[in-house]
């Protein structure tokens, strides 16, 4: 079961290796809680937020601590630096106000992990050029009219945001399908992961 998750989710493996037992994390948009389940097995103290009811029920069935809610409605009650990591794993592109949320996660987390589908991938660029249509990809398998994704960003977009906001990027990882890659990530990775700090 876990093997399958790892196979499709190299980002999960990366995050699992990163976070130490006993550390406290907040997973924003935690879905069915697969990542939290992996981290809990390692002894990480996990709390999640998820807006989909069925996902929340599934998290509680797994014995995970999840808060049914919408991160756009605020994380203000969390104290400054109360988590070792705040995780936004393929969540940020679905929020109404990503800039505000990222600043808020930097307030409540010592470090923040942000992973998002890279819109700079060559296939996406090529599809737009060839078809003149919004591309549908395995990581963004929606049409313009039914997608939960409100924002589309590339590695370069994220980097310039961090420069503009004076946010330090202290780690990166780039993935293509189930592998981690090092070269020309903005062109060939489909999933990008950044570790940031204020």
């Amino acid at each position: 079961m876990l093997g399958n998750i790892y196979k499709n989710r190299p980002d999960f493996r990366f995050i699992e290796n990163l976070i130490e037992p006993g550390e406290r994390i907040l997973d924003l948009g935690c879905g069915n809680g697969e990542l939290m389940e992996i981290l809990r097995k390692k002894g990480v103290r996990c709390q999640g937020i998820e807006r989909d009811e069925n996902c929340v029920i599934s998290c509680v069935e797994k014995g995970l601590y999840v808060h049914h809610g919408d991160i756009d409605r605020g994380l203000t009650h969390h104290l400054d630096k109360s988590f070792d990591y705040v995780i936004l794993n393929q969540t940020i592109q679905q929020t109404l106000n990503p800039g505000k949320i990222i600043r808020e996660t930097l307030r409540i987390g010592k470090k923040v992990i942000i992973a998002f589908p890279n819109f700079g991938h060559w296939k996406i660029r090529y599809t737009i050029l060839r078809d003149g249509q919004t591309p549908v990809t395995p990581l963004m398998p929606y049409h313009w009219y039914d997608t939960p994704n409100l924002h589309f960003l590339s590695n370069l977009d994220f980097k310039s945001f961090c420069e503009y906001e004076n946010i330090r990027i202290t780690g990166t990882a780039f993935f293509r399908k189930d592998k981690q890659i090092k070269i020309i990530p903005n062109l060939i990775c489909d999933l990008s992961l950044y570790i940031i700090q204020d």
């Binding site: 406290r24 103290r45 709390q47 009811e53 929340v56 029920i57 998290c59 509680v60 069935e61 797994k62 014995g63 995970l64 601590y65 999840v66 808060h67 049914h68 809610g69 009650h77 969390h78 104290l79 109360s82």
Partner: protein
């Protein structure tokens, strides 16, 4: 899936315990507690779940009394294989102090006068209710409850348990509840109390059993009942039919329904108890915001907080306040706002989702 196996025939027992010291300094002596239990207490006495009832509830939470057509108020969730699985857990349900369903309250005999307390029964609080429950728990020799669980007023008791006796609560389940009443919630209760006090039979609470303030109490229940349902349920159930236009009688189906609910309530509830218990509800406060997180800073339980989308009496924002205050204290808490149509009463009704959540939460805590 929802399991419909019933625990079968059960009996409400009453136990007389040494005096209960109340928050306001008075003592109820002797203290009688009406209770029911389901399942078996294990050898280490570590598998007990205390179920706390809502305003008009009682100790009869599951199974049937001989001759009953309807089971106890939470029978959907208590029984073999159900969310509170009586094959695993020893479930205890008590009637609250100040109530009128077997525990000490205004109808009890005051040993000093040999007459019913009526309005001389001391003021009781939610803290007093759980202190009384604690007497029973100690009587059973239980050092720590595996879980305390309740909806509405029962949810307040569960919260208070975790605050007053942090070492005695392993898991805490709070459904459709709040850390304190809003002005609106107090307002509805005040209308109910005023209806009782306006009844010519009320007599400052010193009414006789043959001449009770039934009309006032039934109106109080009518107001309460409106708040337990949702707009959608009432629209589906009654709509606007049938308007007859008679100024002396009720015109609408919803009116007849509420009158029926009110009138049948007086057969099983005492007007003074209604005043005592609603006052306990209104006075209950663990605070909001920083004050609430301060109140909850000492808890040691895992928490499951449940709210219901259509509950306008205890709206989900009040549950979120509890969740936020627990999160500030880094207390492990799961919060789910279940999508329902039935309003405040949702927590009492059968739901596969609610069963899954309760089961999932409890199953991930080990019985020592």
């Amino acid at each position: 899936m929802l399991n419909t196996d019933s625990i079968g025939i059960v009996e409400t027992k009453t136990i007389e315990l040494p005096g209960l010291s109340l928050e306001n300094g008075e003592v109820v002596n002797p203290m009688e507690i009406a209770y029911e239990t389901y399942g078996q207490l294990n050898e280490s006495k570590s598998n007990a779940i205390l179920v706390c009832h809502a305003l008009s509830g009682d100790a009869h939470a599951a199974g049937f009394h001989p001759g009953d057509k309807r089971p106890g108020w939470w029978d959907y969730y208590i029984g073999p294989g159900k969310a509170l699985d009586t094959n695993r857990y020893f479930v205890i349900s008590t009637n609250v102090v100040g109530g009128c369903m077997g525990s000490s309250g205004p109808l009890s005999i005051n040993p000093k006068t040999n007459e019913a307390y009526k309005s001389t029964f001391p003021f009781v609080s939610i803290v007093d209710m759980i202190r009384a429950q604690n007497l029973l728990i100690e009587h059973f020799g239980i050092k720590q409850l595996f879980a305390v669980c309740g909806g509405s007023m029962g949810g307040m008791q569960a919260l208070q348990w975790a605050v007053t006796y942090p070492d005695k609560v392993k898991n805490c389940i709070v459904m459709a509840s709040t850390s304190e009443h809003s002005a609106q919630q107090i307002a509805f209760n005040e209308v109910g109390r005023q209806a009782i006090m306006a009844d010519p039979n009320w007599n400052n609470g010193e009414y006789s059993i043959h001449n009770k303030p039934n009309k006032g109490l039934s109106i109080a229940r009518m107001v309460g009942h409106v708040t337990y349902l949702s707009d959608q349920v009432m629209r589906e159930k009654f709509g606007r039919k049938p308007p007859r236009g008679n100024i002396k009688n009720t015109d609408f189906a919803v009116g007849s329904y509420l009158i029926y609910q009110g009138e049948s309530f007086v057969d099983r509830f005492d007007a003074n108890s209604y005043i005592y218990v609603t006052k306990a509800l209104d006075h209950f406060s663990l605070g909001t915001g920083k004050e609430l997180s301060q109140s909850l800073s000492k808890v040691k339980s895992r928490f499951l907080i449940l709210a219901y989308s259509s509950d306008w009496l205890y709206p989900p924002y009040q549950s979120r306040e509890i969740v936020n205050a627990l999160e500030v204290n880094a207390v492990p808490v799961a919060y789910c706002e279940l999508e329902t149509e039935e309003g405040h009463d949702s927590f009492l009704l059968p739901s596969n989702d609610q069963t899954k959540v309760l089961q999932g939460f409890l199953n991930h805590s080990e019985i020592n």
